[in-house]
Symmetry: C2
Subunit: 293 residues, 2 copies
């Protein structure tokens, strides 16, 4: 039987389902871990969530997510730091060593995403400065996270999201920020959807491995045409254009031995029973990922 | 009066209009150049097009476009090279020193874009190999282009288009391919829409300038939400998230003294009279670009 023990179910993949339902679906299929989002953890409380997951013998691969730390004004920045410290607390209680950090887009744009005609006007477009603020605020969070035994896992995002969600776009850029801190303090997330296009991907994955900074390997495919809500335009591995065997081999050669987390935002997939989503993913994993690990 | 002499009207910005109409609109507004697409040139023939443009005292900033050279099979590749030689001929006749090269996406995907459910299945997902084929075929085209006095201008594209349109995503990657050839043989296009998110943008623009390889500076904004057809989801400078003053300053500091070409794919803009599109662009240029040149 195929060994699915390194697979982890990110709860965003089965968004309509509770943490308990996600945990059950993953455990029933022989997966080894779950990667919960904070909303699903908060519904039951982090301690209860930790017990639910441990009771069925699963690991916690990561907690999603902290971040959104690009604000320009002090008040918003302070609020963001407070919320990130809370996320670090939750990760610690949950037993999640990795807190995924989606750092945020150009300031003001995220809050105003639903008002597109005013969003761009009210945005501070200084991308260089926004990125510097990310580096600065990661530095402010590191001591707190270190004390709690939680690593901040910087997630570079597809440039599709630079404006409104994540000003970090490459692993190299994320590693540059991580480099100011110890490897067990700040890591990076290798999410195929976000990094597959990067001409320096092989080099950057190797470097992340050498430095001991690969916090997570997430699998999700780039599909076309993009969905109307581009955030939710992702597919099962194999449904799109990403070369999973090659990228998986690079990650394995970089020495990564952790969980492979499945995080797919897709409204059609959210319409499936969790067990069916897990079944399809298991098949794709067995074909496109596992042989290359 | 604002000096608009470095502005060039790419005919894709006024897509419903003939070359003659584009030339008239640009000349009437005091712009210095046009950047025609091949279809608009072929409608009248390259010699006539050259005369039409010269008669009103405009320059030709570039010809759009060659490329789509990622095919895996020999027949398709040979056809692509033949078509690119024809594009080089047209550029030479037109007096365009720069032939913009949109190199193509993963093979099979472009042809099958209108059949999304089969596209991914029939695509060769080996991105590394596709990029190597681009480098190889640029090498095959260079002698022909050199003889005609035409530079191949590699256009890195936003990763939004890696799968189906352009496997080159960064200036650094494009400069690496260009580096096998002389600066007057292979250059790079700095199109704000495609490169604005790049963490290495400043460095890469400076390097492109040092090497004398900036073939074109194109301005166009990243707007949200993306249009249903993501190809046509671009805006006038100022309508989106791009920091034009900063990028323009980097381009100027890199020593670029050529035309600033306006290439905007947007169905709403295509509904405007050409003169109105030119008027709006002139205003935005005067505010966001010209002061930083």
């Amino acid at each position: 039987m195929t060994n699915l023990g390194r697979l982890s179910l990110n709860t965003a993949t089965c968004r309509p389902y509770t943490l308990a339902e996600c945990v059950d679906a993953a455990a029933a299929a022989g997966w080894g871990a779950v990667g919960p989002w904070r909303d699903r953890v908060q519904e039951v409380g982090a301690s209860t969530a930790a017990r639910m997951i441990a009771d069925v013998g699963l690991r916690v691969s990561s907690l999603c997510r902290g971040g959104f730390i690009t604000a320009r004004d002090d008040d918003t920045a302070a609020q963001a730091l407070t919320d990130n410290r809370l996320a670090i607390d939750e990760a610690a209680t949950l037993g999640a060593h990795e807190l995924v950090m989606v750092v945020g887009g150009l300031p003001a744009s995220y809050e105003l995403m639903h008002m597109p005609h005013t969003a761009a006007d009210s945005t501070d477009k200084n991308l260089v400065a926004a990125r510097q603020r990310v580096a600065d605020r990661i530095g402010q969070l590191v001591p707190y996270a270190r004390d709690k035994g939680v690593r901040l896992a910087l997630e570079p995002m597809n440039p599709l999201f630079t404006a409104d969600r994540g000003v970090l776009t490459t692993l190299a850029q994320s590693l540059a920020i991580a480099g100011d801190h110890a490897p067990d303090e700040v890591g990076v997330v290798v999410d195929t959807y976000h990094v597959w296009w990067d001409p320096d991907l092989h080099t950057s994955i190797a470097r992340a491995g050498d430095e001991g900074r690969i916090s997570s390997y997430q699998i999700c495919d780039w599909t076309l045409p993009l969905a109307a809500d581009t955030l939710n335009s992702r597919g099962f591995p194999g449904d799109g254009y990403i070369d999973f065997p090659t990228i998986t081999r690079w990650v394995a050669e970089a020495g990564y031995i952790g969980d492979i987390e499945v995080e797919i935002f897709n409204t059609a997939i959210w319409g499936l029973p969790a067990a069916e989503t897990v079944r399809i993913t298991s098949e794709r994993y067995a074909e496109l990922v596992l042989p290359y690990l």
